[in-house]
Symmetry: C2
Subunit: 314 residues, 2 copies
């Protein structure tokens, strides 16, 4: 089947908005009624997923890695452009399953497909998604902006992906993808959509945790020109982990896709109440002080930083 037939059959039905023009044109129009944030993330077979991974989880992960960036910037997902590098060996049933999962996942976040490009890949499958977001403020919340005296907040739990990968490696069966638990290494569990509004309303700085809590916390502190002190006991680790070595392993593994943000201490009650009302699990895990760098404590005592703070992009 030719590219344009695949697009017409499987992808065009996902593109119902006026700006998409049914994917018939090379160019789409963005909705710019609110300030627009934009992000793009790519995934490559053999690097970000395995060739044997179910194609629907690949589609959902592609959407979620981009959504995670937007939520952490205080923006709600809006419009998507898909680049699909499709190997000849993958047949029509796979593209159908891919498109169905992509459309379902986009819709779950309030987004829709408006354009893209499909090409043949001589190697493995590769994909990228460009996702726009409607900002609740004049623009996206940045990594820079944390101030001494701010508290550090974190949504959800840290280490679900690490634990799921360990289970998988031991041959422990996975529950249904996305249900949390053992498939979290394959399919990130994100905080709810309402996180975008919470971040926009209160955060002085924010980013998503994708490379590991410690490395991302250090990145935010560096971007803001401040120091961050984290209390490991305050972090909600998967499975309620309390062993220090295990806590550090989970805090440096990555693939958590939770939102890390800072906010003035005065806002704390309001943040807790809004989060609770919106079904967002959230914890205050530390504070911002003058200086630079990241430090850890446990029970009021300093904990040495591990040598590797997270995933370093090679």
């Amino acid at each position: 089947m030719a590219e344009k037939d695949w697009i017409a059959r499987y992808l065009a039905p996902l593109a119902q908005g006026a700006g998409a023009a049914g994917l018939r044109d090379d160019v789409a129009q963005l909705d710019v009624s609110d300030p627009v944030a934009i992000t793009t993330d790519a995934m490559v077979e053999g690097v970000h997923f395995l060739g044997t991974d179910p194609i629907d989880t690949v589609a959902r992960k592609l959407v979620r890695t981009n959504v995670s960036d937007l939520l952490a910037s205080g923006a709600e997902p809006a419009e998507a452009l898909l680049v699909l590098g499709w190997p000849k060996g993958r047949g029509e049933a796979e593209i159908a399953a891919f498109a169905a999962a992509l459309g379902d996942e986009l819709a779950a976040w309030g987004a829709q497909l408006i354009g893209g490009d499909t090409v043949t890949s001589p190697g493995g499958l590769f994909l990228s998604l460009t996702l726009t977001g409607r900002c609740f403020k004049a623009g996206p919340v940045r990594r820079m902006g944390a101030k001494p005296g701010d508290l550090v907040w974190l949504t959800g739990t840290i280490g679900a992906a690490a634990r799921a990968w360990q289970d998988h490696s031991r041959g422990i069966p996975s529950p249904f993808p996305g249900s949390s638990g053992a498939d979290a290494y394959r399919l990130p569990v994100l905080p709810p959509l309402a996180t975008a509004k919470l971040v926009a309303g209160h955060a002085s700085a924010a980013m998503d945790v994708s490379d590991g809590l410690l490395i991302d916390a250090k990145t935010l502190a560096e971007a803001s020109g401040v120091a961050m002190e984290l209390d490991l006991d305050a972090v909600a680790f998967a499975g309620g982990e309390t062993d220090l070595a295990e806590m550090l392993k989970l805090a440096t593994w990555g693939d958590d896709y939770q939102t890390l943000f800072t906010a003035p201490e005065n806002n704390s009650k309001l943040i807790s109440r809004e989060a609770k009302n919106s079904g967002i699990e959230i914890t205050s895990i530390g504070k911002i002080v003058a200086g630079s760098g990241l430090s850890l404590e446990r029970g009021g005592r300093n904990v040495n930083l591990p040598e590797t703070l997270g995933f370093e992009h090679g």
Copy 2:
């Protein structure tokens, strides 16, 4: 060298706009002071370029294929997000040359880098660019909208890429990339930036010619629900070709990246004058009539359509 160091050294200097925030964040902000058109095009080693092609021409072609889409939609290039799937085997000198050419080419079209993602490719190099454009009208000019009585216009010449490829295959040396002529198969020659304003001001429908003049003309006619009649003698073929078989070969080869548009006949004098004043080579090559499909004539006599009208995406 780690991904973030490469980004900081070679790509961040290209990102000077406020919305880019120095490429330090996962999310960028779009300038939405005018209506925004958006397009994305991907290129894959071994499919859209050769592994031995100079890396600077790969960067420039990536930009130009996207710019071509925008010009034909009546929008001026504005902001770019780059996805780079970089093989481990390509070293730092190549990324430096790539970034320099990318920045130079974006600047030549008035655009700038605001974000992206770099990943490791286990296979060959792959790239995609998402490019936004400022619309001169309320939105992009579409493929649909051509009306019976409209004239058909085409910028530049058809067949430069085909002729350049033939020269290359015969071992005839190439002039400097981009200077036109023998490297046009590697590096598309686009109409000037002013084409965007001309299209926005006059076109009832438009698209770029990238898969071959005949197949793209048929696509525009189908999208608009009309028939198109083209006069082959009116088309400016590379090298002034007049042999019918050769003309048909050039008209179905593709990689021309010129703008095809339709406009009411009343506007013809204005279009010609504006094009001349803006340095846009332009020719009226046919007309729109009621009905469907594409027909060709030469010297007032019908010419049978060739079996293949252009490049069909596999």
